[in-house]
């Protein structure tokens, strides 16, 4: 994805997080997964009341604290020190996942390895035989939240497609993703497949399709 040669500049991690943050309306309860999703918290305007949930028992996470104002007892699910909005609350892990699994979150934002045209998500392992198994809360979130948005690079570091007809990695959950934010585009998962609802400036539909294994539809 050589941006100089191609006349468009893929978003960076911060750019993807900021793009996604735009679309979260006031009043939503939102869980932000590990990785790029965590950055989303820093891009929600301070005057827009979005209540950010963290699996380790927190509602109301605010932007990262200034270095000298850190609270060592207050970390997010990525083990980063965070701050709390007025109105925030603490609860234990079973209550925290009751929120997740009981359908109380309006949205969860997850990182992804692969997303399929039917909304299948793979984001925790590259094969069934891998020793490393980092499931964390992703399966609970993918099944439990009202909406699942995935944010990830459009292709792998070595150029392999991640937006697929079918996932080849072990699933996190079936048919759970409703939208994908990548460094190139925003795609809705619909009964007809992926629909492109936004692209970065300078990128054409055909170029996007070239980076994508699954067939894309115009909005």
């Amino acid at each position: 994805m050589n941006d100089a040669a191609q006349g468009y500049k893929p978003l960076g991690r911060t750019g993807m997080a900021a793009r996604l943050a735009q679309d979260i309306p006031e009043g939503w309860y939102v869980n932000l997964g590990i990785g790029i999703p965590t950055l989303v918290a820093d891009h929600i305007p301070a005057d827009r009341e979005v209540v950010v949930h963290s699996e380790n028992g927190i509602l109301g996470i605010a932007a990262a604290p200034e270095p000298h104002k850190e609270n060592p007892w207050l970390i997010n699910a990525s083990s980063q020190r965070v701050s709390l909005r007025p109105g925030g609350s603490f609860f234990h892990h079973a209550d925290s996942f009751a929120m997740v699994r009981g359908g109380h979150l309006d949205l969860c934002v997850l990182g992804g390895f692969q997303v399929a045209a039917n909304g299948d998500l793979a984001n925790w392992a590259h094969s069934a035989n891998e020793v490393g198994r980092q499931i964390g809360g992703a399966m609970d979130l993918a099944v439990g939240a009202k909406r699942v948005w995935v944010v990830m690079e459009h292709v792998t570091k070595d150029g392999q497609a991640r937006i697929l007809r079918q996932c080849s990695y072990p699933l996190t959950a079936a048919a759970c993703v409703s939208r994908v934010y990548t460094n190139l585009a925003v795609l809705d998962v619909t009964p007809r497949g992926f629909v492109v609802i936004d692209m970065i400036p300078g990128l054409g539909f055909d170029e996007l399709q070239a980076w994508t294994e699954a067939p894309l539809l115009r909005a």
């Binding site: 060592p72 007892w73 970390i75 996942f97 997740v100 699994r101 399966m139 099944v143 959950a173």
Partner: protein, 232 residues
């Protein structure tokens, strides 16, 4: 007079046996009963099944190990039940070499199975994990049009818990995000051992603010452990 305080780590660890299932609370370093974990290492019980959110962080060769990783490295853990095994961790090495078994489960299922053990629920259905590797060998049944899998309660012979304040009845409160697995593991342990940062008199913790009532607690050790470290 009810007095659940113990005066030494030896007393806190007394009776923990080889083959025990040990629930270890904490998320990252926050709410992690590090002193009790050191006590367990010292105490010597082996062939343990350890239930803990994460089986340990990425290990840099040559770096000192501690906590769960140290317990594993000493060969004391037969099996870990957890939501994270990192490939490049001590746990990952031991699993790869076939020296330790790992059951990796979704974090919410882990929490719910622990809570179920404490609440007398032997098994429950959940949609989490249906259609994934996690569902292998498990009964599947459909509710509200969604496939759900049957998960069993996860009780501990021992639970190791970290509290912010405790009284002699074993009533506990937790500081901020250190609550995490502590209250549910306290419920699920046949023997629940607590390390507390602070001690207070019975009646000092307001009845409406107690998070873990003493009924779930067996032993409390006062350990002024200081602030959690920043860990990744």
């Amino acid at each position: 007079m009810i007095d659940k305080f113990v005066r030494s780590m030896a007393e806190a660890m007394a009776g923990i046996r080889d083959g025990a299932t040990v629930l270890i609370a904490g998320f990252g370093d926050v709410g992690m009963p590090n002193a009790l974990l050191d006590g367990l290492i010292e105490q010597g019980a082996g062939n343990l099944t350890v239930v803990v959110n994460s089986a340990g962080r990425v290990h840099k060769p040559g770096a000192a190990t501690q906590g769960i990783a140290r317990l594993i490295e000493l060969g004391r853990v037969r099996k870990v039940i957890t939501s994270f095994v990192r490939a490049q961790s001590i746990a990952g090495d031991w699993v790869r070499d076939g020296r330790m078994e790992a059951e990796v489960v979704p974090q919410g299922t882990l929490a719910e199975r622990i809570r179920a053990a404490g609440a007398g629920v032997p098994a429950f259905f959940t949609p989490t994990g249906a259609g994934t590797l996690v569902a292998e060998g498990k009964e599947v049944r459909s509710y509200n049009g969604r496939p759900c899998i049957l998960e069993e309660a996860l009780p501990g012979d021992v639970a190791l818990v970290e509290a912010w304040m405790a009284d002699r009845w074993g009533n506990l409160v937790f500081r901020d995000a250190s609550r995490n697995f502590n209250p549910i593991m306290a419920m699920a342990g046949a023997l629940t051992v607590v390390q507390t940062h602070h001690v207070c008199d019975v009646g000092q913790l307001p009845a409406n603010e107690i998070v873990t009532p003493g009924i779930f607690v067996d032993r409390v050790l006062h350990v002024a452990a200081g602030d959690p470290k920043l860990t990744r």
